[in-house]
């Protein structure tokens, strides 16, 4: 067709149609090909095909040998467990041998995928591609028992485990402006671990995704040892950055990133955590995965062990000892070993020794019952972690009845009576682990000779009631900065944790320990004013101006109290936490200021936190955050929730590279994290709470003095 006839065609009535069609096609082309590229360059992310060392396909013979080894190993473990009661070593060995020769024992075939792979001719594991070969779709049963079929890959890619965020409603958190996060009257923005202000490592996932740190451990005599660090170690995506694209408008995860999904870390009991270290290639750094055929053959439904590959960090913590073989903290890698994180995030262990449900052999998904790859975390929550199934309950009452105490015939009714006011956890979690961190100082790093890096200083750790965790009224909701909300149901208007127990540490023993830690810090930082340090750590509101303080009180009464009074409140234990970090003071409100991220390598290697912050601020996406499009797209709304009102957009670095309005502060109140694991069979005794020395501060919980006196001295207790 020549140009003339084309022009003719475009002029006629049909021409209008043709032009519209062409325009539509153009938009399509832009959206499909040009837009993702533009966006990627705007936020500075890299995507490239992800290659892993999967080796050559095995021969049939090698495959059979591997299968036999795996099965044999499984039976051996079983035989070991079954003969554990035999003390005589020789007798035990004989018993094990007999078992191994027993016909029924020999018939145990624990790994059905050995057969599937053999038949399908799968002799190498190539990641999601291999899994999807058979599992392209899966059937999902929802709570009503309705079954629907979904595409497996889509199901995974749109789960919180992959996205790290959600733009939907269903957060049980409220902004300090009184609005439900992404609820009615808001403009939904992507929120979750990907971008929440966080006082624990990394601050933002973008600036600390996959890093290699040059450590100089004592044992190496000054030689450099590379260590892996970053948020990506616990993420099922294997890309060069978190799934940032998914939080931007009209965009999904790129296809190459989807091939980086680590199916096996959740599904294979034989997963080798030693594979999980940072690797560097021509495109950048990312986290390696165990993609061995051996591991793939052990695939099945997730177990407690597979969940704990990642969640050990926020359960018992990285320092927990006597973990089962294969556990993450005991398998840090063969090279580029991961750095461990001292100071447990929650310190409530899910191991046989410390949790009654773990001891009963239960797995995580018994309570967190998934719908496909969407895993519920319960309808209660104080933090900004996205929730795939926000309306699905995960609670003790799901299995235990409304009258759960059955054995103690004398007091069972009375104990059950307490259920109306007390959560099960309040009595059945006795203590958190002693390395549970309460106060963490990020701005005064100290040298860790053993690891050969500078590390943050935990100023105060405690697992004790009233110290490492506090009892708070809780109706299932939290603030934007993770403070449990609730109210005393019998004494309205008296309970105010945001002006009381979450902003004050007055336990003399704790204060003494904090002072001691400050004195230790003073040895490395001679300018440190110990008195001031202790004051600000134990009374973070002391840094607020009187106007700011007045505004805080006003906002609590106006916006927060109505949320506190919602629903039904019960007393729950909450792990409390605060950290001193660098803050962008141009975005400050009565509840805190925007926290600035750290760059891991600079921090760990030099011990210069300010330089580390400056490096992190240079990250493209952080720069973009301070520009107009991001301000309009999400930051303004983010800061309204934050209680600041708007995003200043003022970049905290001056042209000469110096800080602009950056100060180090403790968060203005302690965060409170739910603790629901580490459940003991035995609850607390009555005297534990009902005495003048009891662990529950009834006064702080808003009870009037006469009721406090009554609760502390029950006639029956005399």
């Amino acid at each position: 067709m020549n140009v003339q006839s084309m022009a003719m065609l475009l002029r006629g009535k049909r021409g209008k149609w043709a032009i519209s069609l062409l325009l539509l096609l153009g938009v399509g082309v832009i959206l499909r090909w040009a837009y993702p590229g533009l966006l990627a360059s705007y936020i500075g992310v890299v995507n490239a095909p992800l290659r892993y060392d999967t080796g050559e396909p095995l021969s049939d013979r090698e495959f059979d040998k591997l299968a036999a080894e795996l099965t044999q190993h499984y039976r051996q473990e079983r035989a070991m467990a079954q003969t554990a009661g035999e003390e005589n070593a020789f007798a035990r060995r004989l018993k094990m041998d007999m078992l191994m020769r027993t016909r029924s024992f020999q018939k145990q075939a624990p790994y059905p995928h050995i057969g599937y792979f053999r038949e399908a001719g799968i002799r190498r594991y190539d990641g999601p591609e291999t899994c999807l070969g058979c599992h392209a779709t899966l059937k999902v049963t929802d709570e009503q028992g309705k079954i629907r079929q979904v595409k497996t890959l889509e199901d995974v890619v749109h789960s919180v485990h992959f996205k790290f965020q959600s733009s939907e409603s269903g957060f049980s958190t409220y902004g300090f402006d009184g609005r439900e996060v992404n609820g009615e009257g808001t403009r939904p923005i992507p929120l979750g671990k990907i971008n929440r202000a966080c006082g624990v490592p990394g601050s933002f996932t973008w600036t600390g995704w996959a890093e290699l740190v040059k450590s100089k451990p004592e044992h190496a005599g000054g030689a450099v040892e590379l260590r892996s660090e970053g948020c990506g170690q616990c993420h099922i995506g294997g890309g060069y950055h978190p799934s940032t694209e998914q939080m931007l408008p009209i965009h999904d995860a790129p296809e190459v990133a989807k091939q980086g999904i680590d199916c096996l870390i959740c599904h294979a009991t034989g997963y080798d955590m030693n594979a999980r270290t940072v690797i560097e290639d021509s495109h950048g750094r990312r986290w390696n995965q165990d993609r061995s055929l051996k591991t793939a053959l052990t695939v099945g439904q997730p177990t407690a062990q597979t969940c704990l590959f990642c969640h050990q960090h926020n359960m018992g913590g990285d320092q927990e000892k006597n973990l089962p073989p294969g556990s993450a903290p005991d398998n840090l890698g063969h090279s580029n070993r991961r750095l461990l994180h001292p100071g447990a995030k929650r310190g409530n262990s899910f191991q046989k020794e410390s949790d009654v449900h773990a001891a009963a052999g239960m797995v995580c998904t018994d309570c967190h019952q998934p719908e496909g790859h969407k895993i519920p975390r319960g309808d209660k929550g104080v933090d900004l972690v996205a929730n795939d199934l926000p309306r699905k309950k995960v609670e003790c009452e799901g299995c235990h009845t409304a009258a759960p105490h059955v054995k103690d015939t004398e007091d069972r009714a009375l104990l059950n009576g307490h259920v109306d006011r007390l959560s099960c956890e309040a009595c059945h979690i006795d203590e958190l682990r002693s390395d549970n961190v309460v106060l963490r100082d990020w701005i005064h790093p100290v040298w860790n000779a053993e690891e050969g890096v500078y590390v943050f200083k935990d100023v105060y750790q405690s697992g004790k009631a009233g110290k490492g965790f506090k009892f708070l009224w809780f109706n299932g909701n939290g603030t934007f900065l993770a403070n449990a909300l609730g109210d005393n149901p019998v004494a309205k208007g008296r309970y105010n944790p945001l002006m009381n127990q979450l902003v004050r540490i007055d336990d003399p023993e704790a204060v003494a320990q904090i002072r001691q830690a400050a004195l230790e810090l003073q040895q490395s930082y001679p300018d440190l004013d110990v008195d001031r340090y202790v004051r600000e750590a134990t009374d973070p509101l002391s840094v607020l101006s009187p106007e700011m303080l007045a505004q805080r009180k006003k906002m609590i009464e106006e916006y927060i109290r109505p949320v506190m009074e919602k629903g039904k409140s019960r007393i729950y234990p909450f792990k409390v936490f605060n950290a001193i970090m660098y803050e962008d003071m141009s975005n400050q409100g009565p509840f805190g200021a925007m926290i600035l991220p750290f760059d891991y390598p600079v921090y760990y290697e030099t011990g210069k936190p300010e330089e580390s912050v400056k490096k992190a601020l240079a990250h493209p996406i952080i720069k973009r955050m301070y520009e107009e499009p991001f301000k309009l797209y999400m930051m303004d709304e983010f800061m309204r929730y934050f209680g600041v009102g708007r995003w200043s957009g003022e970049f905290p670095l001056a042209a000469d590279g110096s800080f602009k309005k950056v100060e180090s502060h403790w968060m203005r109140q302690m965060g409170s994290l739910m603790v629901n694991h580490g459940i003991r069979k035995e609850g607390r005794r009555c005297k534990g709470c009902h005495s003048s020395k009891g662990i529950i501060d009834f006064e702080a919980l808003g009870y009037p003095p006469e009721r406090v006196a009554e609760l502390q001295s029950l006639p029956e207790m005399k």
């Binding site: 009258a403 009714a413 009375l414 009576g417 259920v419």
Partner: protein, 290 residues
């Protein structure tokens, strides 16, 4: 007296320190059901028994904690007051007792069924004469007593250790079930008598199943549910009556004489026309035949 009341209230407060806990309950080791031991003090104060203190019915052995095991096993003795008290007509409670003893409940669960099984003494508010206007309210309230168990398999399980088929299924034969449940009490059919306050509750095999028992001029409902309607109005039943005015229209029972007459007249008129028409045609045919 005043002193005594004051003392009694203090006593109750001691009980309510525990039994005021809303979740006070035990799981019954025999049946596996949950039995609530909580008392709603406000509802209690509004009940017929508001003036009684706890130990008046529960005692002795309940005044100390932990309570005596024997005391916990002891049943309530409602009739001690209700039969042996001038406030209540002796004959009434005698007949209630007799009826109850023969009822399906007492027969099936002799040890586990008592007055309190239906009439929660902490909540129950005795109904004096129900005017027609309040019939729907009474229906709701009385049916709730039955439904507390019969629509709650947890409770059934607590009492019997087994699960019963749903009411919807057992009443599937009844047209417009929901309507019936809103309009009449379970006991109308499940006693089948005209005696007011009849406690001889019948199981499904003996309960009324014929529509005409109610849907007739001589409806059993007149003896019970509508017993207390204005006598004068009842004299005129079949005329423009109170039931119609109160939207409680019951097919078959509620009659309007004028409408009846109008119906008859219409019928007669139709017959007359038909006959006339036939006669006329016959006459015409005969005439043409000539």
């Amino acid at each position: 007296m005043l002193l005594l009341t004051g003392y009694a209230r203090a006593e109750d407060r001691a009980c309510l320190r525990c039994h005021g806990m809303k979740s006070m309950a035990i799981q019954d080791p025999v049946t596996g059901g949950i039995r609530s031991l909580a008392i709603d003090a406000a509802a209690m104060a509004a009940s017929s028994h508001a003036k009684l203190n706890c130990l008046r019915c529960h005692g002795p052995g309940f005044e100390v904690y932990p309570h005596f095991e024997e005391a916990k096993r002891e049943a309530l003795h409602c009739l001690e007051c209700h039969k042996g008290n001038d406030k209540f007509p002796y004959a009434l409670f005698e007949s209630i007792e007799k009826g109850f003893d023969r009822s399906i409940h007492a027969q099936a669960l002799p040890d586990r069924f008592s007055c309190a099984s239906c009439h929660d003494p902490h909540l129950f508010h005795g109904l004096s004469r129900t005017p027609v206007a309040d019939v729907p309210a009474q229906v709701h309230q009385d049916n709730q007593i039955c439904l507390n168990c019969h629509r709650n398999n947890e409770r059934i399980k607590e009492l019997t250790g087994r699960i019963l088929p749903t009411l919807k299924n057992t009443h599937a034969w009844l047209p417009d079930v929901e309507r019936h449940w809103q309009a009449v009490r379970c006991v109308e059919c499940h006693t089948g008598s005209r005696r007011p306050l009849d406690h001889f509750i019948l199981g499904k095999s003996f309960a009324l199943r014929d529509c005409v028992s109610c849907h007739s001029r001589n409806s059993v409902l007149l003896g019970k549910l509508y017993l207390y309607q204005n006598a004068e109005n009842r004299q005129k039943a079949g005329f423009v009556n109170a039931l119609v005015m109160n939207n409680a229209y019951i097919i078959g029972m509620t009659r309007n004489v004028w409408l009846d007459w109008a119906g008859f007249a219409l019928l007669a008129l139709t017959a007359f026309t038909l006959l006339g028409h036939g006669l006329a045609r016959w006459l015409m045919a005969r005439k043409r035949g000539h």
